[in-house]
């Protein structure tokens, strides 16, 4: 029996955060159940027992331990299976700086980037037009974020210090989505950010997973 089941969906940035973490950790002893969001499977009574807000991802272990929130899941899996992606608990300052970097990612990047992804990507599937006002406001926030990140990444190699860490993985799905929506320039136009980005996505396990996903997406589009 696999160690746990990951409930997610195809193309979900939050689910991909967990998948990337597992790929980087070389962990394969799990199964994935893909929910169909357009059919509303994430809002079923059964799924809401795993996630009260009816969202994805969620995991259920073989022993029945259930949790949700992609970043919390990533941290739990990294600790449980000893992926070298977190500072040791005994180092209070390094742990605090990791928490700081995680808050920065969630509040100053993922919040506005998520709005862009919703307007330009998700709304297409719902047959709704994007809101220009929301887009321009969110883009301004993302640009401001990367202006500061450019300075920070000129002094250190990764978002939480000089070692690749879980918090760098957190960025990958939404930055990929920004590229897909035509906003890749926010990364490529900034030298230090661009260098950091290439360091992250050229890591072998991550590169393999992203390439496999790209291929699967092409096949799906071709056969539609």
């Amino acid at each position: 029996m696999p160690a746990f089941t990951l409930y997610g969906s195809r193309g979900s940035t939050n689910t991909d955060r967990v998948r990337l973490t597992l790929a980087e950790g070389g962990f394969t002893d799990y199964e994935t159940v893909l929910l169909n969001l357009q059919k509303g499977e994430q809002k079923s009574e059964e799924h809401k027992k795993r996630h009260p807000w009816g969202k994805i991802p969620a995991i259920t272990s073989a022993e029945g331990f259930t949790m949700h929130e992609s970043r919390a899941i990533c941290k739990y899996l990294a600790k449980k299976y000893s992926f070298p992606l977190l500072p040791p608990d005994s180092d209070a300052e390094a742990t605090a700086l990791f928490d700081q970097a995680q808050c920065v990612e969630t509040l100053y990047f993922a919040e506005p980037a998520g709005k862009i992804a919703f307007e330009k990507f998700a709304k297409r599937f719902m047959g709704l037009p994007p809101s220009d006002a929301v887009l321009s406001d969110a883009l301004r926030s993302v640009e401001m974020f990367f202006d500061i990140a450019e300075g920070l990444l000129s002094e250190k190699e990764y978002m939480a210090g000089n070692d690749f860490a879980l918090v760098d993985i957190y960025y990958i799905p939404l930055i990929r989505r920004l590229f897909a929506c035509g906003y890749g320039n926010v990364v490529v136009s900034r030298a230090a950010v661009n260098a950091w980005w290439n360091r992250c996505v050229n890591r072998p396990a991550i590169a393999r997973l992203l390439a496999a996903d790209q291929e699967a997406a092409t096949v799906t589009t071709a056969t539609r």
Partner: protein, 215 residues
């Protein structure tokens, strides 16, 4: 002695002050930058907080920003004095659930509550008009989320489980500000959310920290 840079009427600073109060730590200093004059957007502040925000913690030569990261650092640093619980880092599942509930606060509450408070309160302070479409949208989103919180709080007494914890203190400053912004009904109309709010605000440490703006 830790040094805090922030304003005692600012929600994110209040998170940290509440944490210090709950931990029983009175041995700290507080410097309030002149936010209206933009002091937090310039050097020397931006050398400490590149994003030009408050609060910031300085502990010797260690500098930290992000109120929730500061709260967790303080809870670990003063763990011996803490009367509430932050899970033992060796308890993987308790720590994971703690991270889960901390994430819920950010993505299912703060994202909408902070926007609503900004529109209905902070904008007024700066002499700006709220944007009705934004107010309607975030009010609806926040209402929908609070409906779920109401069912959650029927099963657990506090936001992180059955004991008062750091997680509750993450919610408290903006929940209070919703009242000041004229949106208190979002809390009071939901019986379990209201019961949680009554439970957490009766605590002496909250009364110490809660500073209302007058005038």
């Amino acid at each position: 002695m830790v040094h805090i840079i922030g304003n005692n009427i600012a929600t994110c600073t209040q998170r940290v002050l509440l944490r210090l109060a709950v931990l029983g730590v009175t041995d700290f200093t507080l410097y309030s930058p002149d936010v209206m004059a933009g002091e937090h957007k310039k050097l020397p502040h931006t050398a400490k907080h590149p994003f030009g925000l408050i609060p910031v913690l300085e502990d010797g030569d260690f500098t930290l920003y992000e109120s929730r990261a500061i709260c967790r650092y303080l809870a670990t640093k003063y763990n011996g004095q803490s009367k509430d619980l932050i899970p033992d880092c060796k308890d993987l599942k308790a720590t994971a659930l703690f991270d889960q509930w901390a994430s819920v606060e950010l993505t299912d509450f703060d994202a909408f509550a902070s926007e609503l408070v900004a529109q209905n309160l902070f904008y007024k302070w700066r002499g700006l008009e709220a944007i009705p479409e934004v107010v309607d949208l975030v009010t609806k989103k926040l209402s929908d989320k609070l409906d779920i919180f109401d069912t959650l709080l029927a099963k657990q007494k506090y936001m992180g489980g059955n004991v008062f914890s750091l997680i509750d203190t993450f919610y408290m400053p903006y929940t209070e500000k919703l009242f000041e912004a004229g949106e208190g009904e979002l809390t009071t109309s939901r019986p379990n959310v209201k019961a949680w709010w009554d439970r957490v605000t009766v605590r002496a440490t909250w009364k110490l920290v809660n500073v209302k703006i007058t005038g």
